[in-house]
């Protein structure tokens, strides 16, 4: 497949507007402005684009909800928090091709009727802030941002808002709170952001990769776009691969490429010729899979059927030497650190899990600890305010399900690690 999203990524200095323009940036703008906003929304609906941030919500539908709300003050937020461990895809666009994102945002803003946009950028991307601010400045200078864009009477202002180190701010309502200068704790839904989001105004939040798809949908038309990749969720998908593979990195492939193809064809197989033990297909909060799942297609529905999730498409590969207790410990530590503290099950449950894992890591595992871990997961399950808590128990449940022996060995031997 020819690269779309990452087309300009390998071109030197593509984050400079002149270079980007030479390679087609902002080409879809005038086409989009030639359409009525509602037609832009319909085109995206026809493309059946599903969000790339993790939840996979149909983008056209989300836009339609917001576009329908009367009134002119609306916001478009780009979710560039990229906090899910293992996820690296948005960074490539932010660093190498910011104009693709800006173009996507201008079109999206036009479609939903928002004249103000923010890019919520994680603090851990210090390089991206400079690049984005420069790109925005250039886009203003060339008239792709600001008032009366392309002389078509379209207005769109854009700025970057930096987070300050909180994974939960990737969750869309927590992101809004954080943008408003508050603690990044999720809000109650309803009201949904599409009707009352940032500053209580209708708001659309989309992932960097999602927004970057928009110029192509406008360019090739929704129907053509819908023919790419998996039927249920078409389009190109950026997979970020890390861990024990020979060639970690980002790969733009049709949605629905199998794990095997990603790991063995594109990433050159497992490091040192070792055997694969486990793979996390979509970031830390997606259940761990095993070798037997290698032929699963990496798209929303197929992964759910296999007992996991596409999440952000962040594939983390583990070879046969890995002790899955360590893996679960690292991820549980992460979730306990990132729980926002609002709801009881996530706050107390992740903290408890972390305490038990710390014991295991200190070689103080006890008979019955596996049951205890399962008990805590059951306690958290289905009760949390937002998906973070639910995600936090996935590494525990799936590692015990597939690799119980690792736990038993750990408890018996009392090996100390870390």
């Amino acid at each position: 497949m020819e690269k779309m999203l990452l087309k300009r990524v390998d071109i030197p200095n593509a984050n400079d507007i002149d270079v980007a323009l030479k390679h087609g940036a902002y080409g879809a703008l005038s086409a989009a402005f030639g359409m009525r906003p509602v037609d832009v929304v319909n085109e995206v609906k026809r493309a059946t684009l599903r969000g790339r941030g993790g939840a996979g919500f149909p983008t056209g539908l989300k836009w339609e909800l917001c576009a329908r709300v009367p009134g002119s003050l609306k916001y478009l937020l780009c979710n560039a928090d990229e906090g899910e461990p293992g996820t690296i895809k948005d960074r490539f666009i932010l660093h190498q091709d910011p104009h693709l994102l800006i173009e996507g945002m201008v079109i999206s803003g036009y479609a939903i009727g928002a004249e103000r946009g923010y890019i919520y950028l994680r603090y851990e991307y210090p390089k991206a802030i400079g690049i984005l601010e420069k790109a925005i400045e250039q886009a203003y200078a060339k008239g792709y941002l600001g008032k009366n864009i392309l002389g078509k009477g379209v207005n769109f202002d854009l700025s970057v808002h930096r987070g300050a180190g909180a994974y939960i701010c990737g969750e869309e309502t927590a992101l809004i709170e954080s943008l408003e200068g508050k603690r990044g704790q999720p809000r109650i839904r309803p009201p949904f952001p599409a009707s009352q989001g940032a500053w209580r105004k209708p708001t659309v939040i989309n992932n960097v990769e999602t927004l970057s798809n928009i110029p192509f949908i406008i360019g090739m038309g929704g129907d053509a776009y819908a023919k790419i990749g998996a039927e249920t969720a078409p389009g190109p998908k950026i997979y970020g691969v890390s861990g024990h593979v020979n060639k970690p990195g980002v790969y733009e492939l049709p949605m629905g490429t199998t794990l095997r193809e990603i790991i063995y064809t594109h990433c050159g197989g497992i490091k040192g010729g070792k055997k694969l033990k486990a793979v996390i297909p979509g970031g830390a909060s997606t259940p761990i899979l095993t070798e037997s799942h290698l032929d699963v297609k990496m798209d929303f529905n197929s992964l759910v059927a296999a007992g996991s999730m596409l999440g952000s498409g962040a594939v983390m590969v583990m070879d046969e030497t890995v002790d899955m207790v360590n893996v679960a410990y690292v991820l549980v530590r992460f979730f306990a650190h990132e729980s926002c503290g609002k709801c009881t099950p996530c706050r107390e449950g992740t903290a408890w899990l972390y305490q038990v894992y710390t014991r295991l890591m200190h070689g103080e595992g006890k008979e019955g600890d596996i049951d205890l871990l399962l008990y805590i997961c059951e306690t958290v399950k289905g009760k949390c305010f937002c998906p973070l808590g639910e995600g936090a128990i996935q590494p525990v449940l799936s590692s015990i399900k597939h690799f119980r022996a690792d736990y038993e060995a750990r408890i018996k031997s009392g090996v100390v690690s870390h």
Binding site: S339, G382, C384
Partner: protein, 726 residues
């Protein structure tokens, strides 16, 4: 008619508003769902997860009922084995790090966590890891925060913001380190309304006042009404062995710091317990007989020598309706003069009770716009403040604020007019409303007001002539305006209703031959035919020497204005009835010890004109007696026939003689248009431009100011000193 949806909760089908939550619907169906973080006063929050329910055909196993709106034909189960287990697990999580110190926790017996744990029958926990290190307790002037007991439901944080607009408390840190803190973990430094203590489901917030004073199940409770300001908040005295140990709001209404913590003045060492009489220059204890004989003899001598009109009476804005009624009856029938008034009339908005009748406070939040003409309303009438905040924070209405300073209302106002005084602001606002002139905030305010179809106008506590006419004009320009005047003293309105006025008999019945003869026959006595002197005229007359004796019930002119001391010194004879030895009492020839509102029965009339009853929570202290009883004893000794066994006897007489009160039920408001003064422009305030210039006016007092009672509250004075030091 509003459309409804049909919801079935545990087999009970109810019709509810589409905006209702499942929890609301369950309440309507009479089904109890346990909650910790949900509260009717607050926006849904959904953090504790105790209120989970199951919805038929839902993709989710559990759904929080407090945050989930109903849908048509929804079928909800609130108790299944799975839900029971789920809630049990949540409770287990909440107890992981909770200190099990119930024996020394003030909340025991009244703790929602304790009750739920008991209800769900929690056994030993699977949690055997180390308990979290308990952070230190945070003390403050009146409220202690035991952070380790906190379940992070956030109700205190939210009530402080959503209801009070104070924002003293906030969540800080993250995850398991989350805590409720003040700014920078310093001591609490807020309004000390104590609403956070009241709303806390566990023992994380407690009051110093109540510490180790009793268990909730040992308490006797007396419904009453707060006697500090005109809002008339309903409250409950909790007593143990006949002593008050705590005050709480009734039916979980609001109480401010004065109402909640100020009651300890009742037990202050300065309380008068015996009558005092002046013997060779000194006030010395006396028996009631001695003291009353002295009162009667002196008043009789002066009356016989110089006429009844050489005696004046100053009534009180704190005593009950019955006592105010009896006071004017005493002055008119036993003394024989209409010289009866209240100094407090100097401190109320001009036009109160005729032009600016107050709407019901709970209606404030229903108006499109609230216009506050003077920023300090929330301090003077806290409940009015709360209703203004509710309008903005809960109902998303607009607030226009005239304020020269900066206070909590500034933060929630849509538009702030920074002017030194209301008249300056109105001078700009009125032309803007009339002809669209004006810029900036004035133009914004005018635009908002023009759009509004109903406006709540909060009338400042003082309104000199000039401003009065401006406000009149403003009201004529607004659509659907309702006024809400600020009334600082608790029973000011009641005292007016009861005729503590030189020109009116109770119920605003003007001194006229008809009225006088009606009262004369009812009271079976001779009554003076000409109106008496008002409070200002009385003070003048004292300076002039034409008033020689003054009978003061429950007021302290010398204490609130040192300039009045030399005036009072001119008197030949001064009687003071009070609960403390006030500055004025110190000057008296006879001091008669009265009881506080916690020790007597009767009724009060709030600024909304709502009749409300108070009940005694304690026995009178020492030899002190209720004002009504003192008055009737003096009257009897002066030859008047008064035989009341209780305040309700007096109320019976009031109902017979005062049409306004004839069938006014306790708890209701008398309708404005029923007043004989309705629409008559009569000014019941003594405040006017000329008086304003006169130095007789006492300075305004704010929330924790030096009032006769507030300064005697240990709690309130600690707050004061603390605030000064901080």
């Amino acid at each position: 008619m509003e459309n409804t949806v049909t919801v079935t909760i545990d087999g009970i089908t109810v019709k509810v508003k589409p905006t209702a939550t499942i929890l609301d619907a369950a309440k309507q169906a009479g089904v109890r769902i346990p909650v910790l973080c949900a509260d009717d006063k607050l926006h849904p929050y959904g953090s504790c997860r105790i209120c989970l329910v199951e919805i038929e055909k839902s993709p989710r196993k559990f759904t929080p009922s407090c945050t989930t709106p109903v849908a048509d034909n929804m079928v909800v189960k609130t108790m299944t084995p799975d839900l029971f287990e789920a809630r049990k697990r949540i409770l287990e999580l909440l107890l992981c790090h909770h200190p099990l110190d119930c024996p020394v926790c003030d909340k025991a017996g009244n703790c929602q966590l304790q009750d739920l744990v008991h209800e769900y029958g929690l056994g030993p926990s699977k949690f055997t890891e180390k308990k979290r290190v308990v952070p230190p307790n945070y003390k403050s002037a009146v409220i202690d925060r035991e952070v380790a007991r906190c379940v992070l439901c956030g109700k205190c944080v939210r009530v402080c913001r959503e209801q009070n607009a104070v924002g003293e408390l906030a969540f800080t840190r993250r995850g398991k380190e989350s805590k409720v803190s003040t700014d920078f973990d310093q001591q609490l430094d807020c309004e000390f309304c104590g609403e956070c203590v009241e709303i806390c489901p566990v023992g994380a917030l407690t009051t110093k006042q109540f510490k180790y004073r009793g268990r909730t199940w040992n308490m006797e409770r007396t419904q009453s009404v707060c006697n500090y300001c005109g809002c008339g908040c309903r409250m409950v005295y909790e007593t143990r062995q006949g002593r008050i140990v705590r005050v709480r709001s009734a039916a979980r209404n609001y109480l401010c710091g004065k109402g909640r913590f100020g009651w300890d003045a009742v037990h202050h060492a300065d309380r008068l317990t015996t009558p005092l009489v002046r013997v060779s220059g000194e006030l010395v204890p006396a028996t009631w007989d001695e003291a009353l004989a002295m009162v009667v003899t002196n008043l009789n001598v002066i009356k016989n020598k110089r006429g009844a009109d050489s005696i004046g009476g100053l009534g009180s804005v704190r005593t009950t309706n019955e006592e105010s009624y009896l006071f004017q009856k005493f002055m008119r029938s036993a003394i024989g003069t209409n010289n009866v008034d209240m100094l407090a009339r100097l401190k109320v908005p001009k036009g109160l009770n005729t032009t600016f009748f107050s709407g019901e406070l709970s209606n404030i939040s229903g108006h499109d716009v609230v216009l506050v003409l003077d920023g300090d309303v929330a301090e003077l009438n806290p409940l009015t403040g709360i209703e203004i905040v509710r309008a903005v924070n809960r109902n998303y209405k607009k607030l226009i604020l005239v304020n020269s300073g900066y206070n909590k209302l500034n933060r929630i106002a849509s538009c702030v007019l920074e002017y030194v005084s209301p008249d300056a602001a109105l001078a700009d606002l009125l032309p803007a409303l009339k002809s669209g002139q004006g810029t900036g905030a004035v133009a914004d305010a005018a635009a908002i007001l023009k759009e509004a179809t109903s406006v709540a106008v909060i009338i400042p506590a003082r309104l000199p002539d000039g401003t009065y006419y401006q406000v009149r004009e403003l009201l004529s320009l607004l659509k659907g305006a309702t006024t809400y005047p600020v009334v600082k003293r608790s029973n000011f309105l009641g005292a007016l209703d009861m005729g503590v006025l030189p020109g009116y008999y109770p119920g605003y019945q003007k001194v006229s031959p008809d009225v006088v003869s009606r009262f004369a026959s009812a009271w079976n006595c001779m009554l003076p035919e000409i109106p008496g002197k008002n409070a200002l005229e009385m003070l003048d007359a004292i300076k002039q020497g034409s008033i020689a004796a003054l009978y003061i019930m429950g007021d302290d002119p010398a204490g609130s204005d040192a300039g009045l001391k030399p005036v009072l010194e001119k008197l030949e004879f001064l009687v003071v009835q009070d609960i403390f030895l006030t500055e004025t009492a110190k000057m008296a020839d006879v001091v008669l010890p009265a009881v506080s509102s916690a020790e007597k029965a009767g009724t009060l009339t709030s600024l909304e004109r709502r009749l409300q009853g108070i009940s005694p929570a304690e026995e009178p202290l020492g030899d002190a007696q209720p004002d009504w009883n003192i008055l009737q004893t003096v009257a009897k000794k002066m030859g008047s026939a008064m035989h009341y066994a209780s305040p309700s006897d007096i109320m019976k007489e009031i109902r017979a003689l005062v049409p306004l009160y004839a069938d006014l039920a306790v708890g209701s408001v008398w309708p404005a248009e029923k007043s004989p003064l309705h629409g008559s422009e009569t000014n019941l305030s003594l405040l006017s431009d000329s008086v304003e210039k006169n130095d007789v006016i006492t300075s305004e007092r704010l929330l924790f100011s030096s009032g006769t009672t507030t300064t005697r509250s240990k709690e309130l004075t600690t707050v004061c000193t603390f605030k000064v030091e901080a």
